[in-house]
Each structure stands twice: as structure tokens, then as C-alpha cells.
Symmetry: C2
Subunit: 380 residues, 2 copies
DNA sequence: CTGTTAGCGCCTTCAA
DNA sequence: TTGAAGGCGCTAACAG
């Protein structure tokens, strides 16, 4: 193994410093020299030693992406979009950065573990996607961790989760390299040391969806919620409740009875959830699901129970994943701009894009009314 | 930044070598010492410098995964499964390895580029997923590249593409570190230096699917093929043709007329493909799609043309992605064990699993007959 | 069981 | 514009 810089240098008849300069391209080198070096690189099939240069330069071209589950298109789309930014616009020069994708499975411990692993690799940036776990202990442990990472120069971007709470800068003043961010930096919000956020409006989306159902005439709207203690779950439920309240909807007891808590974001929890819901509240005429995948499970359960969608029961999802339009029936849902959000997060992570004022960008959503929702039957 | 091994060593009152031993755990250390070291690590919040240790140890804990598009569940599932193996069985000790996911978009150049990037990082292993591009030049460039990487100690696993062709070992004898693999190694097939393969039986799957349609009574079976010059595309088409031939099907001209070539593996090429197909051959009573996603596009187009699935036209997909069972109507397809294949590839890449004899494992497939296929109408 | 000693391959001042 | 030299932080013999 191992043709090294020195080998190339020898072959080209220059010093290894010169070769280094040619390769990193950030330093003037005579054209003739450059060409000789490049030829030597070619002939020797030299490949830079990443770890060595990372060590010497104290930087790496790794970018971390934390996802719950990369097999879920929700995360796949975001991760793909982040990744796309690493290659620069439209197949420009060769990409240099590499994306490290970490499946946390939604577990706080693994989230922390992977942060450590990425820190160990001296990742240039880390994008955390998906809803945050709401356990207060973990929340603050994570916040501290992220702020510290950010302060030490790792760019941190949250994508699809709410901004870090608490004081803007909590990390202890003395211990940190204040020199890293100047006053000018901070004024512009370009400071390293800030955790950036690209947030979804889950509340607003759920509000819109529930309003849609209410407008259709539904009064018994069930809700199959996502995993407990997830911000995403809570926000969507809040939006739903807010819409009910705004329309003078059912009291809390009633609303609670119509809510099934706690499955995962998968088909089976939609399936189980719908069965449970219909058992509890047979008068249900519409079901909101935690997301599209859950909604498919809901539809399947309803079908099995002999109920037609949407004639007997309306169903709506959330996210508008690609398959939703082709589901049976086509799913009414809320579209989140996953690709755009991921791309945006990627650009923030790379520093390609100036950080938004306040460090938070909230992306929009769009109500997609399709075939799975309709007015309730006359009989209610 | 930067508390280093030396800092920890000083704090614990030992040498840095000892700290290193404690952390890597592969060397006996007195319990008392270990505890002191561990405490120091904790107090100092020490995090190993990955690049430095990779440099010194000439190894890294990065594993590369090349995919066409991580947003496509086909690849997401495989990548997730590979990744799962990095964590060891059932949340054992903390994972150490990290997965670098590279979107090639199916482009040969990017495939090569990413290989270089991964080589630069001294990735411990690389898994290449999805069908290979059939351009002969690229094929051989890639094969050479992979063999060389394998010979230099990087484990290479192909997942979902056919084995490398050509002589088992093409890399030039002299230049390589023969010492790396002993005769014993090679006898057991555990040699580094071999490119391992986990292959799908695309031909067999397509054969089964077409046979299914023939058995139902279809005689005018259209085929909406995937991207040209992809092994996957070719093999599926071959399986289809073979089944037709075995049943004394249409001649080549006729079969060609019923085949639409060349879209991507996406919904829109199914949509366009189906329209083209029906224009060319209105007598079509069944359509085989390159994969499930394409099949959804086909269904959408048929619906728009006023044709019912499966009453007027049967449709079948390939892969059995999770959404297929919930599509409208539920899709008849061939299930590929994507998760198992990915996990298997991951284990081979980690060396957890002994390589199969010959270096190739072919995984099975299963015909999933669902609602999108039925006998043709009486009138044909 | 633990300390000492060399590098690993590259980047980066500092001189020339 | 180029070369020389030191060091980045860690690991891996080799002593003790």
C-alpha cells in the first residue's frame, strides 16, 4: 500500500510541500511545476491520505447526518438533499465532502453516541433530522452537547426539529475559544458557535388538516398519534386540538377519547391504532394519522372492518411522501418540503448560505386534498 | 479545542500509551489503572482524535456505501440494513464504525469519484449497491479499481449487482502486498483481496412474474423497462423474455414492440411508458414494470386512460417495497429480501461472516400475488 | 503490567 | 515560487 506525498515529490523532482500545495490548490505554484506534479500523481495513482491530512490540518471533510431511520423515505429524502449539497451545484468540480449517515432509531442514547463518534472524526458539520425526544434530561444534555460542539467549530444544523431552547449561549465563557467568533461575526449571525435550525410547521399543518375535515362537516375526528415524547408528535397533536377548539369542538375529555397514543411512525401502529379507535368510538367519521405511513395502516384496518374510505370514514396523513398520491385511495395530507429543507440544511451546514436572522428558518407546508377525505355520510 | 491523550495521561498519572491501551481495550491493563484513566477521560471529556488514530493505526472505522439514490426506499432499506450491522447485535457495546453514504445517481464517473474519496479516507470496507452500469469501458475500469482496493485490504462487497466478471484476480502480482493474504487465507476464501457479492436473482424473479401472467391467460404482455445499460434492467427483461419463450410466446419482433425502453426507475417513466405502450399496442392486457415505483406510474396512466386495473389491464411491479401492498390496487410483485441482503453484505464487509464459497451469495425472491393482476377480460 | 521511543503522512510556518 | 523542518495526536513495538 501507500504511495505517499514524498513519493510523488521525488518523482516530480520537487519537495513534498510543493506537492501538498498543488493538491490543495490554495497556494500559488508555477504552472510548469504544477503540471509535473500532476503527472506524477497520475502515474503513481496517488491518493491522499485523508486521516493524515485531517490530522495535520485539524479538519476533515466529513459531514454527519443523524436520522431516525434511513429506510424511511421521510429521512431518505432529507438525507439525500443534504448530500446533494456536498457536491456543489450541478456536477461542478469533484465533490470532496462525504456524508456520514447515522441511524439513531429515535433513541436518545444513540443520538449522543453518534455525536461522539462524529466528534471523534472531527466532522466539519452535523445535521440532526427529525423530531427531538422530549425527555427533559436528554433535552438539556443534548443542548449542552450541541452548543459545545458548535462553539468548537463544528457547524450544527437541526432540520425538522424545533430550535434548541434556553439561552442562546450556555457554554461556559472561559473555557471556549472566544477568539473563534468575533463581534462582527455575531452581529451578522455568521458566528460559528450557533446552532442553526430549519423547522417544519407541524402545528400549522395539523391545524390546516383538521380545519379541512371540520369544513367538510366532520364532528367526530379521531387522531392516531405518533411516538410519545416526540416534539413532532406533540406539535401535530397541538395543531389538531387548536383547530378543534377554534371551531368550538369537543371538550378535552371527548378529544382525549378520540386520540390513540403512542405507536411508532409505521404502518402497524396505524393499523392497531385505527382498530382501537373504532372500538372506543364507533361514531368516528374521520381519522387523522401521525403521518402518511401510519395513515396507510389506518386505511388497511378500516378496509378490514368493512368501512370504505372516504365514504364511511375519511383518512388523512402527514408529510406527503411520494407514495401517498398513489395509495388506495390517494391520500389527503400535508406536504412538507422535505427536499428543500434538507438542501437548505446542507447549505447551512456547509456555510454556503448565510444563516438566517435568529438562526431559525421555518419552511412552509401545503394542504394536499385528495381522495381519502370527503364529507361524512348523511347519517353521521 | 483539544484535550489530548497526553492530557488524560497526565491527569491519571500514567503514560499516554497506557491511556491508549485502556481506550482501545485490546491489551491488558490493571484494573486500578484503568479506573483512574477512565475517570480522567470522563473529567476531561476527552474524545479520541479519529484522524490521528487512523493515521497511526493505518485503519479507520469508516465503511462506505454507494447507492444510486438514498431517497429511494430500495436503497434506503439496503443502506439501513448494512448500517444496522455496524452496531453489533442488539445494542451491544457502543458502535464504533460509521457509514458513509454516497449517492452516485447511477453515474459511472461519480461511482469512481466516490471510490477515490473513500479510498482517501482509508475506508475499512465499501459496499456497492444496485445494478451496475454495463458500459464495457466503465465495467473494466471499475473492476480493476475494486480489485486493487480489495487487494490492498479494503473489503469490497457488491450488493444487488452481479459478481465482477473476468479472472478472479487481475491485479498485477508484483506490486501488491502478497503478504497480506496467506495460502491458508485463500484456501478458506477468507482472503482479503477478493470482491464479495450478494446477488439478486432478477432473471428468476421476472421469469416467475411473467409466468404468473401467462398462467392467468395473458398473451399480450407489455414491458416497461428500466434505464438502459443497467444489469438489473437487462436481467429482468431477459427473465421476462425467457418465460415468454418457454410458453411458446410471441416472436422477437412482437416482443420488442411490446417493450418500452429506457426510463429511469421512477414514477414518471412508468406513466410515460404506459402511454407509449398502449399507443403502440392497444391490445395489451398486462404490463410488467421495471419496478414497483414504475408500476405506480403505469397504474396512474392506465387510470387516466379510463382503463381499470386489473379488470382491463393487469399490472405488476418488482422489489415489493413497503408501499406496494398499500397501493391502489395492491401490487402484484416480486419480493426481494432487501433487508436481509443488506445485512448480509454488512456482515461480509465487517468480516463478521465468513465469505461464501466462490465469493457469491444469491438471495431468493418471492412472488407476491396481490390485487393488481387478474385474468384478461373474456374478449381479450 | 507499564513507560519509552519512533514514526504514521501531511500541513504550515519560516527561510531562501 | 519553492524547500526545510517541526509537529498534529495516536499507536505499536520494544524494553523494563
Amino acid at each position: 500500500m501507500a504511495v505517499t506525498l514524498a513519493d510523488v515529490a521525488a518523482r516530480a523532482g520537487v519537495s513534498s510541500a510543493t506537492v501538498s500545495r498543488v493538491l490543495s490548490g490554495n497556494y500559488p505554484v508555477a504552472d510548469a511545476t504544477r503540471n509535473r506534479v500532476l503527472r506524477a500523481v497520475d502515474e503513481l495513482e496517488y491518493v491522499v491520505n485523508g486521516p493524515a491530512s485531517a490530522l495535520a490540518a485539524a479538519s476533515s471533510d466529513l459531514l454527519g447526518i443523524l436520522v431516525n431511520d434511513i429506510a424511511d423515505p421521510f429521512f431518505g429524502i432529507i438525507a439525500g438533499a443534504v448530500q446533494g449539497e456536498l457536491e456543489g451545484p450541478q456536477g461542478g468540480p469533484v465533490p470532496r465532502k462525504l456524508a456520514v449517515v447515522c441511524n439513531t432509531g429515535g433513541s436518545p442514547e444513540r443520538e449522543l453516541t453518534y455525536l461522539t463518534l462524529l466528534q471523534r472524526q472531527r466532522a466539519a458539520a452535523i445535521v440532526l433530522t427529525g423530531g427531538a425526544v422530549e425527555d427533559p434530561e436528554h433535552r438539556s444534555a443534548l443542548a449542552t452537547r450541541l452548543r459545545r460542539l458548535a462553539a468548537s467549530g463544528t457547524r450544527i444544523v437541526l432540520c425538522g426539529r424545533p430550535p434548541l431552547e434556553g439561552p442562546e449561549q450556555r457554554a461556559e465563557p472561559g473555557a471556549l475559544p472566544r477568539s473563534a467568533h468575533t463581534a462582527a461575526d455575531r452581529a451578522q449571525g455568521t458566528a460559528s458557535g450557533t446552532v442553526l435550525t430549519v423547522a417544519f410547521d407541524n402545528r400549522g399543518g395539523a391545524y390546516a388538516l383538521t380545519s379541512h375535515l371540520l369544513t367538510l362537516g366532520h364532528r367526530h375526528i379521531g387522531y392516531v398519534a405518533g411516538p410519545a415524547e416526540r416534539t413532532t408528535t406533540r406539535h401535530r397533536l397541538e395543531g389538531h386540538r387548536a383547530a378543534l377548539a377554534a371551531h368550538g369542538g369537543p371538550d378535552t375529555r371527548q378529544a382525549e377519547r378520540l386520540t390513540v397514543h403512542g405507536g411508532d411512525y409505521d404502518r402497524s401502529s396505524g393499523y392497531e391504532g385505527a382498530r382501537e379507535l373504532l372500538r372506543r368510538a364507533p361514531e368516528t367519521t374521520a381519522v387523522l394519522a401521525a403521518n402518511d405511513t401510519v395513515a396507510l395502516g389506518v386505511c388497511a384496518a378500516l378496509r378490514e372492518l368493512g368501512l370504505r374510505v372516504p365514504q364511511d370514514v375519511s383518512v388523512a396523513g402527514f408529510d406527503d411522501l411520494p407514495f401517498s398520491a398513489d395509495a388506495s385511495p390517494a391520500l389527503t395530507t400535508v406536504r412538507l418540503p422535505l427536499h428543500e429543507a434538507g438542501a437548505h440544511a446542507g447549505q447551512l451546514a456547509l456555510g454556503t448560505l448565510p444563516p438566517p436572522p435568529g438562526g431559525v428558518t421555518t419552511v412552509g407546508h401545503e394542504l394536499m386534498v385528495r381522495a381519502s377525505t370527503a364529507p361524512p355520510r348523511a347519517g353521521g
